[in-house]
Symmetry: C2
Subunit: 321 residues, 2 copies
């Protein structure tokens, strides 16, 4: 079993630095300032329209690095495999991770596998940790957000969560919804290269746009106003949300981010965003108002009613990533 | 739930770099050459005499870094928590990780938690990834092992595996066996500082001494001879192994390593080892013979019979780390 697993990963991830016979990968330090992050992936089901746990585990960690403005370089992988997982499932996941790593320009350099008994896991869980390099001096953080900043997203919201939910529940829609799962580092690098001041970036994952904005508003101590009319949500996603009683603003994405930029740079930012495959549907969705110790996020409805957009108390959709 | 969990980790791991509100930790690169590694920990039970899954998750990754001669610095943690895990269990584990990190001189700088349903996990699984810095030019690798090198261990073998097994099986022995789980980086740094040429290092984990030596012999293409008489195994560990039908040479440790050094440096190496709390029982257990394309490890019994020490085909003890 152990040899078979090593074989699968070795074949899929082969690169000069990966050495399954050693305890650690040795890397030339890529620069003065590094970014380091980790995430575990427990998505159920393992495969869904537009992605799988393997590509998700690469893109999720790449995107976390990208949100600090880092260029992602190296990824570690830890697999917790439930006894009885078909070997072809593992091969499919490993190949998907390898393709995702190539697409995201990162190398999988070290890894580990553990096997647990039947009934003590759920197919496979994957952890990835990532190292990136910061090649700039700018600080990208909620604390850099300023009153007057515009709030943008890079595309339509909610597709990842609804693709996973539809797949899990066996629901069929007239037009199949595919996950938005994608690596965002190149897009961020392009924006930085073009000189767009990025005050804050955050990928929209668990809890959706609402949780993301609330976290930033709270940390920044500022009040945000978004306009529901401006938020891109596809009709089929909206329809699927209605069937399941969900609000698209609370549904996770895996290839979407919010950006806070100064208004004078809007045109430039939109030009860069819309030129990238991950930013074609980029849109301004709102703006930062004044200081607010409660850090409220407000939402303006199409008929002009303003409401507070809460952070949900429970986890709306479990095991979506 | 999510807030409670964040609270637990934030309280336990607090340090200037840990920021649970951001997606990645930003670190000053500690040097030109880095080591990067990961391991997941699925040990059952979560607590055992001499340690727990938390300290194990820190020491295991620290030790993997140390085996390349790196000084471990930064650790990431990913928790996969089964619904229903008592909060006090999590607090206890987090505190243990924090104490272990302090003992091992590493900082826990970034983390993630996921929750899975009851019956889809087993209390908690932990992944850690680690970054260390290589502050020397020496290459520590099976390929550096030379005929004539001495093979050493830093202490008695098999305690970790037997402590976990005894705890799992509810066995009681007259003298309680405690895990050997410990961080080994300081010991390695001291040896390097003293100028002992370390041809190869490997921590003795899954599969025990036998698997460790077989992996190195195979990679090096050399033949090793160890003498059973010279291998330190405590009487209570040997007794427990007999009860369970196990061979101590196949039982995992978590604070033990094998060292390959040139014979002229033996005295110096033993002096350094025995001066450290993790090396008091250090011993020479054998030597490297000539080239061997099969990379066999041979063992000399007390009555002078030589046998081949196989790598076990199955995993002898599951979920020991």
């Amino acid at each position: 079993m152990h040899e078979m697993i090593s074989g699968v990963f070795h074949a899929a991830f082969q690169n000069p630095m990966l050495d399954t016979r050693h305890d650690a990968a040795v890397l030339a330090s890529p620069g003065q300032r590094l970014a380091f992050t980790t995430d575990s992936y427990v998505v159920h089901p393992l495969f869904f329209p537009g992605g799988d746990i393997g590509s998700l585990a690469v893109y999720g960690t790449v995107n976390d690095l990208a949100m600090s403005g880092a260029r992602p370089l190296f990824i570690s992988t830890g697999f917790i495999i439930e006894e009885g997982l078909p070997m072809e499932t593992l091969v499919r996941i490993a190949r998907s991770m390898s393709a995702a790593a190539q697409k995201a320009c990162v190398q999988i350099v070290t890894g580990d596998t553990k096997v647990v008994e039947r009934g003590k896991g759920d197919g496979v869980y994957i952890n990835t940790a990532g190292i990136g390099v910061l090649e700039h001096d700018s600080v990208i953080s909620p604390l850099e957000v300023r009153p007057g900043d515009l709030i943008l997203v890079n595309g339509d919201l909610g597709r990842h969560g609804m693709a996973v939910m539809a797949s899990r529940e066996g629901l069929e829609y007239e037009s199949e919804i595919t996950s938005d799962s994608a690596p965002l580092a190149t897009l961020v690098q392009k924006l930085m290269g073009a000189g767009v001041p990025l005050h804050c970036l955050r990928d929209i994952t668990r809890g959706g746009l609402s949780a993301t904005l609330n976290e930033i508003a709270e940390a920044a101590g500022l009040n945000f106003l978004i306009e529901e009319d401006l938020i891109p949500v596809r009709a089929d996603v909206r329809g699927a949300c209605e069937i399941l009683g969900l609000d698209p603003l609370y549904v996770a994405c895996e290839g979407r981010l919010v950006l806070f930029i100064p208004e004078p740079h809007l045109k430039q930012a939109l030009a860069v965003l819309r030129d990238d495959p991950c930013g074609k549907q980029a849109a301004v969705i709102g703006r930062v108002r004044g200081p607010d110790p409660r850090g409220l996020v407000c939402s303006l409805s199409p008929i002009g009613v303003e409401r507070v957009l809460d952070m949900l108390s429970g986890e709306q959709l479990p095991r979506i990533c």
